[in-house]
């Protein structure tokens, strides 16, 4: 039930992304366009997003790199997961959509999705779990129109995890980081 709802949202977003393809030959302009639409969409889709990304902020983006603009959702690069889970939670949908749109609008852009796990349990299982998490994000981004060749997945398992002892700390390690090749 939940899944099919997510699917239809993703499909709608994919269609929206496709309609943007018409302008993708002009590199500078579409970035701003797609960001603007992403921003609007994100704010509509999730109340969890703070309202900091106003129209005024977006004008700054036009001048700088949207990936680095702290007011732009694209500057947010981590997707967090529940223990032993690889499902991308609904609250990260706007983030995934924003990055997918950016990749669609910038076909030369490339990302590495780095999967991680907290330090509990087995290193090998966590390596596989980190991989599943990075692939889950890749699938969502693919579904929104980003090309396979733009996305690489890698897992560090628990190898980059902190020395955690409580859930507040563990949850920071259960994530996929989106790293652009020019970061």
């Amino acid at each position: 039930m939940k899944k099919s709802l997510l699917m239809s949202v993703l499909l709608a977003a994919t269609l929206a992304a496709c309609s943007n393809n018409a302008v993708k030959d002009k590199p500078a302009a579409p970035v701003v366009d797609s960001n603007a639409s992403t921003q609007a969409q994100s704010n509509a889709a999730s109340n969890a997003n703070d309202g900091a990304s106003t129209a005024g902020a977006n004008q700054d983006v036009a001048a700088g790199n949207p990936l680095k603009d702290p007011n732009n959702i694209l500057s947010k690069r981590s997707i967090y997961f529940d223990f032993d889970k690889d499902q991308v939670k609904a609250e990260y949908r706007p983030l995934v959509e924003a990055h997918a749109k950016y990749l669609v609008a910038n076909p030369n852009a490339k990302v590495v999705l780095q999967g991680n796990a907290d330090n509990r349990g087995s290193r090998e299982y966590n390596l596989s779990l980190g991989q599943r998490r990075s692939v889950a994000v890749k699938k969502a981004v693919n579904l929104l129109g980003a090309q396979d060749k733009q996305i690489e997945t890698v897992s560090y398992g628990e190898e980059k995890a902190g020395d955690c002892k409580d859930e507040a700390c563990y949850q920071k390690d259960r994530r996929v980081d989106i790293v652009y090749d020019n970061d």
Binding site: G121, R123, E124, L127, Q131, T153
Partner: protein
């Protein structure tokens, strides 16, 4: 495309920095410990022999470490025999010794040593064992371990494991090093070191090679390295992750895990990197393959049913049978050499702990008193389980007997130690 690149790592053979020395501390012990007296070995005339390592001390430490022996103080005893003719049994019954070990160490020409020892039954007043070794100075510890193994086997009826080796990864000052050490933690040697993580070392059945996973190329790749020459090959460097190597009991193949098709699945590959074949096919994670001792099946971790559990399938692939049912998270299977027991890590309300399951009855026992346990592996005689845990926020090694009574802490000099595996072959 699937061909291996062969290359020599001369750098790895250079002198080693930052290796951890482990010392073993025993907590608890068997209900019935065998009281044994070991008279310090000396020259046949009773004078002390110059020894680089003290053979008697090493034998005593080994036996004590096993938790099955009470090594008695011999200093106050009137007689200090080295030859069987000097033994006065009454002196040893007086301190309640059941067994007595005596021996001599004689300097030979060419800087060699002749070591002889006898194991005596104090109650029956007879000889149980006698053996002589002609060794180099460098073989003193190894010889002491062999003597301890012989005493252990004679008095307990099971094989000793003092003359075996362990491997583990030490992380210190931001560097990872894969090490091999004697079972008592001495003689640690670095096999390979890297700025990036090293995990999952696996012994070849003959003890001459290690397979391991290195992130040195920023992604997990499996290497096989000779402990004799230091030479290594890339066993698997396919698209995605290459991890969890496990040798087949005959040493000709390895089970490995690839994410070639995006999801971790188990493959079997020849030890030279040829003949890759997928053996597990699921929509979930399949990882941590481990061969049964007869080579007919592979135990592995899979989350195909939701959470991770341990399964078994034919080594050539086919239907998998679920093996663990208690709890929602059971990982890292390792089978005892007799094929009867399975050890693994089980998530319990008190944390992640070493557990053992009787494969015939399905009965599960949680063994460890630690709570962040990983990577359990049986000693070659199946009595102890070596594993990684965390003590005071630092990775360290520990071992627990299969009945849970004997617990050892392997304390190291400063590094963060993890990923242990007990070698199956005597050195």
């Amino acid at each position: 495309m699937f061909k291996n690149r062969l290359f020599f790592i001369f750098l790895l053979l250079l002198p080693i920095v930052g290796r951890a020395e482990l010392t073993v501390e025993v907590v608890g012990g068997a209900a019935q410990q065998i009281p044994i007296a070991i008279v310090p070995f000396a020259a046949p005339n009773g004078n002390p022999t110059i020894q680089q390592d003290n053979i008697t001390n090493v034998i005593g430490a080994d036996l004590r470490m096993s938790g099955l022996f009470r090594v008695l103080e011999t200093r106050g005893v009137a007689t200090q025999p080295h030859m069987i003719s000097e033994v006065k049994y009454n002196d040893w019954t007086a301190i309640q010794a059941q067994a007595l070990t005596i021996g001599t160490v004689e300097a030979l020409p060419g800087n060699r040593l002749k070591v002889s020892f006898r194991l005596l039954d104090v109650l029956k007043q007879n000889q149980l064992l006698a053996m002589e070794f002609n060794i180099t100075q460098a073989q003193q510890r190894a010889t002491a371990h062999r003597i301890a193994d012989m005493i252990y086997e004679k008095l307990t009826g099971e094989k000793g494991v003092f003359a075996t080796r362990i491997t583990y990864v030490n992380k210190e000052n931001g560097r990872y090093s894969l090490q091999v050490a004697d079972a008592d933690g001495f003689n640690a040697q670095t096999v390979v070191s890297s700025k990036e993580p090293l995990i999952s070392p696996s012994w070849s059945p003959d003890g001459t090679k290690l397979a391991y996973v290195s992130f040195e190329k920023k992604k997990p790749i499996i290497f096989v390295q000779s402990l004799v020459s230091g030479q290594r090959i890339v066993l698997a460097n396919f698209k995605g992750n290459n991890s969890a190597p496990a040798w087949s009991p005959d040493g000709t193949k390895l089970a490995i895990v690839l994410t070639y098709s995006a999801n971790s699945q188990i493959y079997v590959i020849n030890a030279d990197g040829t003949g890759l074949q997928q053996v597990s096919f699921s929509n979930g994670i399949d990882t941590e393959p481990e061969w049964s001792p007869d080579g007919s099946s592979i135990y592995f971790t899979s989350n195909r049913g939701g959470g991770p559990q341990i399964y078994r399938m034919p080594a050539s692939g086919g239907d998998a049978k679920r093996i663990t049912f208690e709890g929602s998270y059971n990982v890292s299977p390792h089978v005892s050499t007799d094929g009867k027991l399975l050890t693994f890590i089980k998530q319990t309300p008190a944390g992640f702990k070493v557990a053992v399951q009787d494969l015939a009855t399905g009965q599960v026992q949680t063994l460890s008193d630690t709570s962040q346990d990983e990577s359990p592996s049986f000693a070659p005689n199946g009595r102890m389980i070596l594993y990684a845990t965390s003590v005071g926020g630092k990775g360290s090694l520990a071992a627990v007997s299969v009945d849970g009574r004997v617990k050892q802490r392997l304390k190291d000099s400063g590094g963060d130690v993890r990923e242990p595996s007990w070698g199956s072959v005597m050195n």
